[in-house]
């Protein structure tokens, strides 16, 4: 049983006009076995939250805390966070020319598991995971994400999720840019990851579409850098019906008063 606690997290990003605060006090707790849908309009800071937790150097955490089973994540390096059990499926996975997917996956598995996986088991494991995600075997010899389509990149993010089996996964708009079939394949991959019941997921999305495949336990609406409202799956139904207007207006009214 693991817990990821985000407490009053403030973060800013450097822009040409100086630093700009994006996260304005985020509070959220995810326990293993829970799926949290994290929804909000574009520009609300959802991706910033994901990157800040993962430790991207572009985002500067100014105050607050992120605890993984009581340990301060913000004091860890990016790779330490990953080895501690955090995973970020990126919205725009990065191309790494000259590094083969198979070399990359094996290096990542070796790092997170603390020892190199046995070759024979590993090859089988990767093959199975690739076939589950309908990824052609030829991809393992290609450079990481290089020349992959948007959908192929997303499948590979979930491939890594299935192989590395982190305690907590933050999925940053993994559903965006996927066609109906790819969305099903990717969602099945995420469901395979959570089926053991001891994984926690923070599913960041703009649309409710993916929630037809992945059933959240909690839904949070994120507006202007903080959680505006939390609830159960019914909150997602409301967003499907009426969009974000109620939340963005409430926020503005509060700001004006």
């Amino acid at each position: 049983m693991a817990t990821l606690e985000i407490k009053d997290l403030h973060a800013e990003v450097e822009t040409e006009e100086g630093s700009k605060e994006i996260l304005t006090g985020v509070n959220l707790t995810v326990r293993s076995g829970e799926i949290h849908a994290f929804m909000g309009p574009n520009g609300s800071g959802k991706s910033t939250l994901a990157y800040a937790i993962a430790g991207h150097p572009k985002y500067n955490v100014t105050s607050g805390s992120v605890l993984l089973d009581g340990e301060e994540v913000l004091e860890m390096s990016v790779d330490e966070r990953a080895r501690a059990g955090l995973f970020l499926a990126m919205q725009y996975p990065v191309e790494v020319p000259g590094v083969s997917m198979s070399n990359f996956l094996r290096s990542a598995a070796t790092a997170t598991r603390g020892e190199a996986p046995q070759v024979r088991h590993w090859v089988k494991e990767v093959k199975q995971a690739m076939s589950d995600l309908e990824i052609d075997e030829s991809f393992s010899e290609r450079s990481v994400n290089e020349g992959f389509s948007g959908g192929e990149k997303k499948r590979h993010e979930i491939l890594q999720l299935d192989l590395l089996k982190p305690k907590f996964a933050i999925l940053d708009e993994t559903d965006s840019g996927l066609d109906v079939d790819a969305l099903r394949v990717v969602s099945d991959g995420i469901n395979r990851y959570t089926e053991s019941g001891d994984k926690g997921v923070l599913l960041i999305t703009h649309y409710t579409r993916i929630l037809k495949h992945i059933k959240p336990d909690y839904v949070h609406v994120f507006v202007k850098g903080q959680v505006a409202e939390s609830g159960g799956p019914e909150l997602a139904d409301e967003l499907e019906e009426s969009g974000y207007v109620r939340f963005t207006e409430k926020k503005e009214a509060a700001a004006q008063s």
Partner: protein
Amino acid sequence: MTESTLETSGRNGLDERDPQNSAVPPRSSRGHRFTSYDVRAFEVPGGREEDWRFTPMKRLRGLHDGSAEATGSLDVEVSGDSAVKVETVDRSDERLGTAGAPADRIAAQAWSSFTEATVVTIPKDTQAAGPVTVTVHGPGQDRIAYGHLQIRAEPLSEAVVVLDYRGSGIIGDNIEMIAEDSAQLSVVTIHDFADDATQVSSEHAYLGKDAVFRHFAASLGGDLVRVNTKVTFGDRGGDADVLGVYFADSGQHLEHRLLMDHAQPNCRSNVTYKGALQGDSARSVWIGDVLIQAAAEGTETFELNRNLVLTEGARADSVPNLEIETGEIAGAGHASAIGRFDDDQLFYLQARGIPYDQARRLVVRGFFGELLQKITVDEVRERLEAAIDKELAAVGA
């Protein structure tokens, strides 16, 4: 002392053309260059000339101004297939200088100053088994030496030659690489000097009809290494791949100047150099000139230079230049880029648990990998991979 470990023979070369002793008048074009075997035909460069503006003149140790008299000699060892002929000849040997005339003062100084030359000949129709290794040891710290080497692949022959520079000293030399008609010659040159070495090398490649020339340069060590590589197409159908990698550390100056001189129809050239730089005042210069002369119809050429600046304080200069004098070409292009080390690539690998040092190594290996894979000699490829890993480990960071 020049010595060789292979049996030598007195066989003369096939190429009877006289070295052109007449100077070609200078033109404003970068491609059409003034050349002469006579050092006095060149003015002492001051450092502002187009040819020298990137080079720290003081660190040339007098190679450029006539003050560097030879105080030592190069030690040349050749090993490989016994079918390959190795000769040590004096300056009067008529084969010398046929691949091209010196195009700058240091090349002319080296031409005027060498006393013995090594000639490596792959006989007609011979396929050399395994690589031919030419190891050149510098004259030693602060000693000055001039050298001359000719590698000649006779018609229909095939060979891979590894030219391995080691040791220390101040070196000026000319290297001739001749692929005669339908020969296939690969030359891998490794500049792996001690930290204090200075080398200014002029490479003259000459391709006969349908010759295939593959050149791979790796510059790792030395205080200053400047290499001029000119490829001359002597007849139709020549095909040249000129590739290189360099890794400049703190204080190092590594300079590569390429000229693909297309004067014949239906020839192809491909130039790709990649460099990484790290540490204070690490410096690299890459000048890629391609000249497609009016007669060179059907030319296909591409040149590319990529630089990866790993730390603050390092500087890479990259200047591609294409001069085209005919419209009837198959294709010509160039590209050049200098990039900071990509934080996003590092972040991505680290976000999967891979530690910083290993992630950095993966990215840099990946950057060079595409080129290193083209080296067919396993030991050489592995040595260069290991050297790059070592460079990365050295800075730690």
